[in-house]
Symmetry: C2
Subunit: 268 residues, 2 copies
């Protein structure tokens, strides 16, 4: 029962891995290390909701028994998932599913920082929802979100203020299906950041994102919302956020004022 890899009478370690026996003749050059397969299985359990954000997952030894491998192999799989910010290890306590809720970083994907002073010493941002309505995907937006043209979307426009100054104005597009029922009330009343709401109310956890940045000037409406002139150069930040299976689930187009803030990026 507990030793699926048992294969020899001697006490040599299980050969495992590349299924050397079944590969007689010409076989696909596919070679996947055991820990990658374990990683994929753990990912599967995350996607299908077996373990919810914030939960503890089974211990390394439990998982090793469950998958019929050694603890070290499970460890390597978890190491990679932790490096991807999908799991969080806590010595003495266990390994947890990463969550936007308990993350001490308030804005996971926001790279805008005040020019001087300690980070976020300015306190939490004020969030003002301008409106939230159902729209249909343009060809361009559909392509970015991996949908078909004219599929229903929810579009949210909001403004973020730091220390009372309107600094960010953004449009957010979400596929209507997974986010059915999203309302202005929900958005306004929810205390935390937006990704927290997505996670707790819609079971959608954003895992990574890509941003494309340009410099531009605002249209009249946005200029008014940000309290700047139409000639003010602003950062245009287009973000696509992805959930577990690398599926795009959100498109944001934001304009950032950079008179008191800057976009910070670390290059390695």
């Amino acid at each position: 029962m507990t030793a699926p890899n048992a294969n020899t009478a001697s006490q040599s370690p299980p050969t495992g891995v590349s299924t050397p026996d079944a590969n007689a003749g010409l076989s696909a050059p596919a070679f996947s290390p055991l820990y990658q397969q374990i990683k994929a299985q753990i990912l599967q359990s995350l996607q299908n909701g077996e373990w919810q954000p914030g939960d503890v997952i089974p211990s390394e030894f439990d998982l090793a028994a469950r998958f019929g491998v050694s603890q070290g192999t499970v460890r390597k799989a978890i190491d990679e998932l932790a490096a991807d910010n999908l799991l969080v290890r806590k010595q003495g306590k266990g390994t947890f599913v990463a969550t936007h809720a308990e993350q001490h970083v308030q804005y996971r994907f926001l790279r805008l920082q005040p020019d001087i002073g300690t980070i976020q010493s300015e306190g939490p941002a004020e969030r003002h929802i301008i409106w939230c309505r159902r729209v249909r995907a343009t060809a361009e937006i559909a392509k970015l979100l991996g949908l078909r043209t004219a599929e229903p979307l929810i579009q949210v426009r909001r403004v973020l203020r730091f220390a009372g100054v309107p600094t960010i104005c953004e449009d957010i597009w979400l596929p209507a299906g997974p986010f059915k029922g999203l309302s202005v009330e929900q958005l306004s009343s929810h205390p935390g950041a937006m990704y927290r709401l997505f996670e707790s109310s819609f079971g959608v956890r954003m895992v990574r994102a890509e941003e494309r940045i340009k410099a531009t000037t605002p249209d009249p409406e946005t200029a008014s919302l940000l309290d700047v002139s139409e000639q003010t150069p602003l950062l245009s930040v287009e973000r696509i956020a992805y959930t577990y299976n690398n599926a795009p689930m959100e498109l944001r187009r934001a304009l950032y004022r950079t008179d008191t803030h800057h976009y910070k990026n670390e290059l390695n």
Copy 2:
């Protein structure tokens, strides 16, 4: 000589690590895993030039013998250094000191991409050095580079063209000491990217960098160099590049045209 951790007569594995004996009484809570110490020693050999960029370093077993630890411990140290892009592992061949020269990525820290089309299908950039002269550090620049005001610097101004279009105009400040002798001829004639020259001719290897991005408009001179109007919004990118010991060694202030290109960032 070769077994600094030898400590017991029995064949139990060396206890090592936390020096449990010397820690009687109240001691600093410092605890450094063995592999971190190995990592530091390898880093030391990189800094003092024992292994040059492009070189193979000794095999994991050789290093294990040299440091008196097991191969697995050396492996973990190298894993982290490889994750930091300081070393590059090549299965079957060895572990190499990372270099800007052989890196297939031409511009290690440049995040600007053409809006459409395959990445860098536009061919290599044309580099035009505008000038290169000795200056003295302003208080602001000195602070950013960790120097004192009025220390001698070399300042380079250049323009990069993609597909014939001037797209980037940047000023580069370098401490005069480490870069003694840097000349326009050297900069112009050197075939590759700038960091390659720094590495091969001055022994300075840039390891990581930070960028601060704002939106702005160009001054008249820069507008002319980039062939745009003074009202054109541009990305202002300030980069500080660091060498091994986390010491800042270069400051760049660049303006990017974003009419045909965008700054791309991956968020994890």
